[in-house]
């Protein structure tokens, strides 16, 4: 188990969960061809909630959060994001995507643009923010993830950890209401994981609604207010972190935890 976040004091003053609903998924099903990847998913996320989704590979956890910003299409059930239903209407999809930030395992920065241009692109073209203002915002968030001095470099010149922090800053520049993280630390060297997790914790401390697919159980214990365990396309168990780790209910969860925490 990673202990990279254990020694950190978490400031919980702003980490309050509101009653308002950010995401509401009901009876959602998805197939890849004939393969049933997600089965009857029901999940309600309140504003300010920090949810960690874990599970064995192939359990559908990445697919689940990719459905929330329609990188994957679901075939049955409904997904409501900030009051807008995800349907095939392109206008709705682009609107939801500009409200929902996403960080990928492999960062997906744009290699032909500088760090600053990566951060200002979407605000300028999607939000129609004036260039000056977008650059000021970008520098603000780059300072927040502690790499303002790299603003004029290209992504290829940065380390993995730095690239992932840029990716987080890039999403934040759109001032999203929800952040999705798809295994943000899985492609990083151990010493770079900490810097990315620190950035994510800071985000949590400011009350951002977050859904993270991750295997960083230290992060889950420190920050999450709910841990969801998925297997074979279903939500098997969900609980607050303390209960989830100390008192898992299902055998599948127990087995998974013993494997991931055991070594």
């Amino acid at each position: 188990m990673s202990d990279t976040v254990q020694d950190r004091q978490i400031n919980r003053s702003q980490m309050q969960v509101s009653d308002e609903i950010a995401i509401d998924i009901t009876n959602m099903n998805k197939w890849y061809g004939t393969f049933h990847v997600l089965r009857d998913i029901n999940l309600t996320v309140q504003r300010g909630e920090r949810i960690v989704i874990c599970g064995p590979s192939g359990s559908g956890k990445s697919t689940l959060i990719r459905c929330i910003n329609r990188l994957e299409e679901h075939q049955k059930g409904t997904i409501m994001v900030e009051g807008t239903e995800l349907s095939s209407d392109l206008k709705n999809i682009d609107k939801i995507r500009s409200e929902v930030g996403m960080c990928f395992q492999h960062f997906n920065l744009f290699p032909h643009l500088t760090i600053l241009e990566n951060c200002t692109l979407a605000p300028i073209w999607v939000r129609k923010t004036p260039k000056k203002e977008a650059e000021a915002t970008a520098m603000h968030f780059l300072e927040k993830v502690k790499i303002p001095d790299q603003a004029l470099k290209y992504p290829g010149q940065l380390s993995g950890g730095q690239q992932q922090r840029v990716a987080i800053a890039r999403s934040l520049c759109m001032k999203p209401r929800i952040m999705l993280f798809d295994e943000p630390t899985s492609a990083l060297d151990p010493e770079m994981i900490k810097e990315v997790l620190d950035t994510m914790i800071e985000l949590a401390e400011e009350g951002m609604t977050m859904l993270c697919v991750t295997h960083e159980m230290g992060f889950a214990q420190a920050v999450a207010n709910r841990v969801i365990f998925m297997d074979q396309g279903q939500i098997v168990e969900q609980n607050e972190p303390k209960e989830f780790f100390n008192n898992p209910q299902s055998d599948r969860t127990k087995l998974f935890l013993s494997q991931i925490l055991g070594h």
Partner: protein
Amino acid sequence: MSDTDSQVTNAYFRETMLAQQTPPVTETGAIKWLRENLFPTWLNGIMTIVALYAIWFILSHIGPWFLNGIWDAQSLSECREIRDATLGPDASAACFAVISDRWQQLVFGFYPQSAYWRPTLAFFLMLAGLAPVLFGAIPRRWLTASMLTPFVIYFLLWGGSVWVPAFIALGFVVGGLTARVLGRLNQMVALIGTVLIVGLYWAFIAVPLANAVHSILPIGIMAIPSSEFGGFMLSVVIGMAAIILSLPLGIVLALARASDLFLVNKLAIGFIEIIRGVPLIVWLFTASLLLNYFLPPGTNFDLTLRVIIMVTLFSAAYIAEVVRGGLAAVPKGQYEGADSLGLDYWQSMRLIVLPQALKISIPGIVNTFIGLFKDTTLVVFIGLLDPLGLTNSIRASTDWNGIYWELYVFIGLMFFIACYAMGRYSMYLERKLQRENR
């Protein structure tokens, strides 16, 4: 800690560093270079000698012919007389006099001599117009001027009323306005609507309108029909027009072929495969002969323009395939990154995917352009007088009957210079983009 540390008894350390020494003589300078590059092994040494002999053999035959070249004569027989008088009847000597005598014809074809300044000016305008497109160091605002150059060049070459190119250029303004107005409704509607309106404008409004304005305010220069175009001027007109038009068309076709929309996708595949599957010469014959059957009777659609259209379509199909390869090489994560930020299809293509795809495709695109430029010589088969076609008319005169090599060497050299320049530009561009973004 453990007692292994204290058991190290024969510790060793150096107090003074050794000075650098010069490498052995056989490892430096000319000897090393010879050994590494020409004679690394016995077999390679033999191959070096054979290759040197081959080079000498070729040069010893071509060299004298080239260096003895006679530049000042009025006919082939005069060339031979000069050769016999100065070098003897068996000497090998090129008769480059044909080039100094007929170079104007090779460059301009049968274009009226009094108007030679027009294609010359057009050529330099073309270079000036291309510069901002090709080299990023030139300020971007010059690009606007670049967009006007094709119309000015058309006016210079074909002549006639100034209003015709002006009203055709106006079509782009009409298109821009339509796109802006319709863009508020829906992007697909805007795209189709713009193409439709601009197409109708060009087909039915532009030319009559230009004629009407011309009758009120006649401004123009002597009209020269394209049947009098020829030589390198014709090759450059067809080649450059097709290069400039086929790149955007090829990109659009590649996007259409990569599209999820069933009909768009299948139409693009059909178009590309049909164009690519038939030899260019067949399309050229189609342009020169068959097209007349399809066009309404009485329309006299300029043959050179028809050829430009065919060559453009032909090379667009190739460009589309090259760009498709580039599109496929852009990682899926880039599309997803752009999508996740809320960019719409055209934004993500224009800002994220195409810059990367085109960078990958540069060698293939330039390769296609080089092929296209050389293929312009095929127009000789439909009766246009490109440089190769002109060699026949030059030989048709009694003065130069029987001269082959000198003309072909000259034409080959001109094409080589143009194609080599394109190749070098492609390498420059690749290196520049490599430097800018690793």
